[in-house]
């Protein structure tokens, strides 16, 4: 599933990673360097990283970049793109470009926020289940099964519409429902890591259980969590956009890339004012695509068996 390097024949690549492993034995911080090097060889991942950084910068400097306030109403509405309004104005006369810039904040907040919540929940539950085993494991895994059997989209739609569709609630709901996969991943890693000698040494030395779990076991289960979380950010962004598009996410006047496309459901807007809906759609595509490329690059770089 990896996107390979265009210039590197397979044999040379595998030879090189072998020498890198040899180097790794000698140096302390070279694992990080090895991973970074592998990541930067993945051209699409690097491109993704650049695009995503630009989007984050747009998010931070929204006030500087956007020529107008996102909710400010001008006297020209439904105007075509012009020098003053780069992407024209919408039905109420708000500047589309400014709304586009500010809406990046919504996507980034939901993406990073929801994933942060569910990675935290999933890591703790997975670590508890894997480390303690027995009935703790049993209970946690049964709850995980229930959550995995939820008709995901439907439960999200119902929950969000019930507790009120807004940015905070969407982030929360996606965070609370998203953890089962992470929990399973972490549980699996912990199960194998806890049999390692260094963990047993930690137990014999009398370290406290939380210290063993969080300082000795979890750092070594980091790689799969990071890859999962990266892809998670991308799907959370799509989910928020879809909810907002359906009118059950972030609602106007607040701007979200998803809700900027809602009006395009009317055929007149769709066919005669493409500047209203194509730019926000492209922004969603661009950010999701860039994050997926980053995730793919990370997976290639972190997977220890580089057989492909």
């Amino acid at each position: 599933m990896s996107l390979p390097n265009i210039n590197e024949p397979l044999t040379k690549q595998s030879l090189e990673s072998k020498t890198l492993v040899m180097e790794e034995l000698g140096k302390e911080e070279s694992y990080l360097r090895l991973v970074t090097r592998r990541f930067f060889k993945h051209k699409l991942a690097v491109a993704g990283l650049i695009v995503f950084t630009l989007i984050i910068l747009m998010d931070i400097f929204a006030q500087v970049i956007a020529p107008h306030h996102p909710n400010a109403v001008s006297d020209t509405f439904e105007a075509a793109p012009s020098a003053d309004h780069l992407l024209g104005t919408d039905q109420v006369g708000r500047d589309v470009f400014s709304r586009l810039v500010y809406a990046s904040r919504v996507s980034i907040t939901v993406g990073l926020g929801a994933v942060a919540i569910y990675v935290a929940i999933g890591t703790v539950l997975g670590a508890l289940a894997g480390y303690f085993g027995k009935w703790v494991d049993n209970i946690i895994m049964r709850v995980t099964d229930v959550f995995m059997s939820f008709p995901y989209l439907m439960v999200i739609l119902v929950l969000v519409s019930v507790i009120g569709p807004n940015l905070f609630n969407i982030t929360l709901v996606l965070g609370i429902l998203g953890w089962p996969q992470v929990a399973r991943l972490v549980r699996g890693s912990v199960l194998s890591i806890k049999e390692m000698d260094y963990v047993k040494a930690g137990v014999a030395l009398g370290y406290s259980t939380p210290k063993i779990i969080f300082q000795h076991i979890l750092p070594n289960a980091f790689a799969p969590i990071l890859v999962n979380a990266t892809f998670g950010v991308a799907s959370a962004i799509i989910m928020e956009a879809s909810l907002s598009f359906l009118g059950m996410g972030v609602r106007p006047p607040a701007a979200s890339w998803g809700n900027m496309l809602t009006q395009a459901q009317s055929l007149t807007v769709l066919s005669s004012q493409p500047w209203l809906w194509i730019p926000p759609g492209l922004m969603i595509l661009l950010s999701v695509l860039s994050i997926n490329f980053i995730g793919d690059g990370l997976r290639d770089a972190l997977e220890s068996n580089q057989s492909r």
């Binding site: 459901q265 493409p274 759609g281």
Partner: protein, 316 residues
Amino acid sequence: MFQYIIRRILIAIPVLFGVTVFTFFVINMAPGNPVDMYVNPSATPQQIALAKEQLGLNDPLWVQYGHWLGQLFQGNLGFSYSTREPVTSMLIERLGPTLLLMGTSLIVAYLIAIPLGILSATRQYSWIDYLTTGFSFLGVSIPHFFLGLGAIYIFASKLELLPTGGMNTLGGTTGFGDTFFHMILPVLVLATGIAGNMVRYVRSSMIDVLGKDYLRTARAKGLRNFIVTNKHALRNALIPIITIIGMDIPLLIGGAVVTEQVFQWPGLGQLTIQSIGSRDYSALMALNLIAAIAVLVSNLLTDVVYSIVDPRIKYE
């Protein structure tokens, strides 16, 4: 095996119970009252109170849930507060269009994805491989509503080749040809996403298998490459793919909410949106129940099929 299936079904019952309890209480946390949709807008407060009493909405939540569950065991899913239709007939009416749309999309997606994945794996690092991988990333990254609107913009609005939405032309013929034309765009959108996901799994699974020793043996015996790839390798590569198919199948029921909305397709997804809009509690409960059953059944089917195609896997 038989015992395993029975046990899995028994485990599924508390899971389903959990799902219905969860959705029931969540739905009833909603502010406002479903009775507003039931009575006519000019009803007096007395009439509203009477309707509430009749519908049992004044009972404590757990009594209401018990009532719902009791009715469920008698095969009664209740009736819609807004349209006053029985929920069962609403569901049956919507199930057909959704199954038609999603079934076609899944088949189309697999017919595209499996050959492309094989091609991509056998010609690793070729331009076909890069193109396929690129498109698969695009396919999983593009939001369905954007792709759908784009398709309507190009094929319906500008080129005027295909209808913008719905399942049949209003007042026109209702034959299969007409439905077929209405299906092209939504199937295109849904198949893009499903195929984009599938191609990546087929590719990596094929690459794994192609490196195995028994394939080298097959080639060494002098078998033609075509047979080695499409018979020996593919059969083994498809085993992990079953899991992905199993994850796609619940989409048949509940996954097309956005696409159905964009194309005004009269299926279960659109019913979900309408039910949320009109706070149609009984319809929402039924929709969630069906979707959860779909997930559980396809999980079970996946495991069973898995053990049939790969006899090394045994369940106790």
